[in-house]
Symmetry: C2
């Protein structure tokens, strides 16, 4: 599969991935993929990442139900960063973050400090207590 | 400066950074910052990255004139990824990519191949031949 060879995998065999919401264009999260994760993402039309902490494939939503449908896969000019266009399923509005927020990027810099700037849409304990 | 200590810098003292365009919400580029780059970005209201290839601070636009005004700095839930909201200066529409395109993410996956899907807005030779 040539297209997978064109990706410049890092020393750990990984590539950084940005997930962006179709429609709003909000940046939902940032994660990593290895070769298999990217292949499965393209094959399934669903975001599959590589969890560095767990050392295995992470089918986004496998625990939370917050699956991401993938509409488009893009690669940057240096072939070393991937951008996904996704629909965030499982809640309306979509919850991508494990804190129960829409986006993982909820901390905003203000006058020398990081302030939480987005609401929790669902209690994380409810999300993960299956 | 406490807020800089809250960022989880990687083993190389760097953090990944996503630059997103205010208004369109387009993801323009992905780069890295060290502590000094993030401090200068906040101080100047202008994107300052750390160039891994050159091993020094990279004041975005220093050669191309394609400076990024920074409106907002965000940090993700794990404190290890930064998201900038920027206005891309120097050309209309903005050019963030060294290939002369609006965004670095111009390659789209289609049927097992990466296809260039965005136009070149300005010849890179013209951008960098000062």
């Amino acid at each position: 599969m040539d297209w997978l060879d064109e990706v410049k995998w890092d020393a750990h065999g990984l590539v950084p991935v940005i997930a962006q919401e179709r429609g709003t264009n909000d940046v939902l999260m940032f994660a990593w993929m290895n070769r298999e994760a990217l292949a499965r993402t393209a094959e399934l039309g669903r975001a599959v990442y590589f969890s560095r902490s767990r050392g295995r494939l992470w089918f986004k939503g496998e625990e939370s139900g917050h699956v991401q449908t993938v509409h488009e896969i893009r690669l940057d000019c240096d072939n070393d960063v991937v951008l996904l266009q996704v629909t965030q399923l499982g809640h309306e509005p979509g919850i991508a973050c494990h804190t129960g927020r829409h986006s993982c990027f909820f901390q905003r810099y203000e006058n020398g400090a990081w302030k939480a700037a987005e609401p929790v849409l669902k209690d994380p304990q409810t999300i993960y207590s299956k």
